[in-house]
């Protein structure tokens, strides 16, 4: 017989004027290899069909199911109950707009982020795909992929002290996106153009170095190193600009 797990789940339906934010208690018997995906799905199907949460791939690849699990943002689908205490509290991610219970609106937030960071390759090159492709060093390709691995779950944003205080802070996910394009030889944006996007307190200079992003990222993206790299790069970019503009023409 498995443990009888005590769940405390945040409930709130913004579409229902009568709904007020509250914690609701559920109990569920643990079974072997149970993950939070299995547990929450069972709670919905067996106990409370009104429970709102998001799952998609249930394999830690898509980033849908990020929530605050016993205080820490993480992916519910890869949280194994056997590694958890008998009392589990679940909250929606902060910072993002709440849709209902444990579900938050990461979709709109991230689409806005693509627009802000202009999250695409900027190039003037006209490519004819019927001809041989431009060559690239495999090591560079792997380096880009390393940063491209972000699944946009929102954990880094929810865990970020700055993002919690300043909703317009771009956060590690957006800064990592910029770093991804900076190291991509196909992107022709200049240092100045990148600076215009992230060279402010809403960008890299808003980062206070609390490293919660680094510590909660379910994909273990090298966020700490990217943030340090960007701060140095943008810091020196500013100095270069000042030096250049203050020099007589």
């Amino acid at each position: 017989m498995g443990r009888n797990i005590h769940f405390e789940i945040f409930r709130y339906n913004p579409q229902d004027t009568a709904s007020i934010p509250r914690m609701q208690t559920y109990f569920l018997e643990e079974t072997i290899n149970m993950t939070l995906f299995i547990a929450l799905t069972r709670l919905r199907e067996e106990q409370d069909p009104s429970l709102v949460f998001d799952f998609c791939c249930r394999a830690g690849i898509c980033g849908s199911c990020a929530m605050v699990i016993n205080g820490r943002p993480g992916l519910a689908c890869q949280t194994q109950i056997k590694n958890m205490p008998g009392h589990i509290s679940l909250h929606p991610l902060p910072v993002f707009k709440i849709i209902g219970d444990l579900s938050v609106d990461t979709g709109v937030w991230f689409r806005e982020m693509y627009r802000k960071t202009e999250s695409w390759i900027h190039t003037r090159a006209e490519v004819d795909p019927t001809l041989e492709e431009a060559r690239m060093d495999n090591a560079v390709a792997e380096e880009i992929y390393e940063l491209e691995r972000c699944i946009e779950c929102g954990c880094c944003i929810a865990a970020c002290g700055t993002a919690n205080l300043r909703p317009d802070f771009m956060g590690a996910a957006a800064l990592n996106r910029i770093a991804r394009f900076m190291i991509d030889p196909r992107d022709e944006r200049s240092e100045r153009e990148y600076f215009d996007i992230i060279g402010t307190d809403f960008g890299i200079f808003g980062c206070m170095g609390l490293l919660a992003c680094e510590d909660v990222c379910p994909k273990q993206l090298p966020l700490q190193d990217q943030l340090g790299f960007l701060r140095r790069k943008m810091g020196f970019a500013a100095l270069r600009q000042i030096f250049k503009t203050s020099r007589p023409a």
């Binding site: 339906n13 913004p14 579409q15 290899n33 993950t35 299995i38 919905r44 067996e46 409370d48 069909p49 009104s50 709102v52 799952f55 998609c56 791939c57 249930r58 394999a59 830690g60 690849i61 898509c62 980033g63 849908s64 194994q80 849709i99 209902g100 990461t106 979709g107 709109v108 991230f110 689409r111 693509y114 627009r115 202009e118 999250s119 695409w120 390759i121 190039t123 090159a125 490519v127 795909p129 019927t130 001809l131 041989e132 492709e133 431009a134 060559r135 690239m136 060093d137 495999n138 560079v140 390709a141 792997e142 880009i144 992929y145 491209e148 699944i151 946009e152 991509d184 196909r186 992107d187």
Partner: protein, 618 residues
Amino acid sequence: MQVQSHYSDLLVIGAGLSGERAAAEAAAKGFSVIVLSIVPARRSHSSAAQGGMQASLGNSVMGEGDSPDVHFADTVKGSDWGCDQECARLFANGAPIEMRRLAAWGVPWNRVVAGRSVYFKGGEKFEKEEKKEKEGLITARAFGGTAKWRTCYTSDGTGHAVMCTMDNRCAELGITVLDRKDAVALIHDGMACTGAVVRCMRTGVLEEFRAKATVIATGGLGRLYKATTNAVICDGGGHIIALDTGVAPIGNPEAIQFHPTGIVPTDILVTEGCRGDGGTLLDVDQKRFMHIYEPEKAELASRDVVSRRMTEHMLAGKGVPSPYGEHLWLDIRHLGDRHISTKLREVDEICRHFLGVDPRKQLIPVRPTQHYAMAGIRTNKDGAVYGLKGLFSVGEAACWDMHGFNRLGGNSLAETVVAGGIVGAKIVEFLQGNEVAFSTAHARDALRKTEERVNSVATCANGRENVYAVREEMQQALMDGCFVFRNEADLQQCVARLQKTLDRARRVGLVSDGKGVCHELYSALRIEGQVKLALMIAKGALERKESRGSHNREDYSARDDKDWLNRTLAYWREGADMPELLYEDASPVFELPPGERGYGGGRIIPADPAWVAARTIK
């Protein structure tokens, strides 16, 4: 009630790779495009495809001599001659170009590294030397069922990386991509489709999206099965709104692929790359067995063959018992830490996060599980759905049909972008050549019917059947009667069970109040259509009295080209209680006449040589 209406030239339902690729094609030509998705675009199931995309670039030394012709032949053989060869040709020719286009758009493909390196095949170590003059070009890896190394990849997150690039491209083009929008009905007059009725999954409110052309690109239907590698959103939503029109057919509903390596018990897929890179399958005695059944290809035979051999081996008493049923072992221990931590990192993560297993030291429990639907909304080679003008379909949701009765690993992910581009271009032609008159009456009609459905479900007007219980019954019926091996008795029982289930599905009522997002309502709006789709699968399988590709009949083990070299077209006519099955020729022409696949064994009942010859082209 004031309903929010949206207008665009093109409405794309589904923001996975194929949907966004088609959207990008139309938007680049200046048409207004709206893309709808249940989840944010990048969470689409396309991103879960780890392995890669097949394209005959032939840059790797192991892909030398490859060409679209070889790729075409592999694809047709893989389909067990069930595919439309015109589509397979379009695909094979277009794939290398599309890979280069994706490279220009930003996909960080792995590239050729010159020099010697080792690789594994069937557990043995080999050496290869990549050429200096190819250094930096897009490289490829081995995958099941292919003559050459042809699978382009980005480590083991190919789907994810391409999905990111494609979504970036859509953002660049300024395409409106809306997430948490569930298309619940098409707006049509029986002749033409002009958009969809959509339930907003933020508010629960119904909206209408009117468009000159509509594309269904909603992916697979794996969630009709209990054991599936598919994401929870792959529930046949797009198929259902198409079949609900009564005039659009589902092509080859019985053609469902099972993947050999879903982990037990969560059914998460571990990539074919494991076997391609030299992983082996072991039985209860921890002995290899695939080479006994398939001496030539062993673990690298195509998916249907491996799944079938695994099931066969388990039926022979060689399975590993577990509380979740029997399974076999996948062994990648000999590939080494470096290989597993880089090339197979996702596999490593899956094993650690969902099994608590270290694949460097331990075996991975696997069994065949539902994986892919060759079945889909039947379209012509332009992607236009049979029966409704202005309605298109692409990707896994469609039966285009380049996969026939079995698709090769890496071909479906490639299909999403290649077909997405081709169909996108055809949609552009359609939009350029057609003026569409929006009929408000039909839109209001579709909306009113949907509202009535929502209300009757929410107020339990038709009954109080529990939607989750009904779904469970449907899934179990398919697992029991319509899985890897099929036979007359089980299929008949399956159809009978599903007919009862359909009756229950029509009496579903909500337990919750249905306000706001309400997932129960989402499920309830789908369940009747899902059971209809399940009935199409079971009925199609029951009628097809042969074995072809993934469709394995124990009682008809031969591939029957004489009577069954055709495609099932399943219609659900308005007011009917059973699907109507029609048939069409599998391929209008043969570039590669029906023959031996070279693996899988089995007897072939040949087609009339004169008939074949008359349709064979050079």
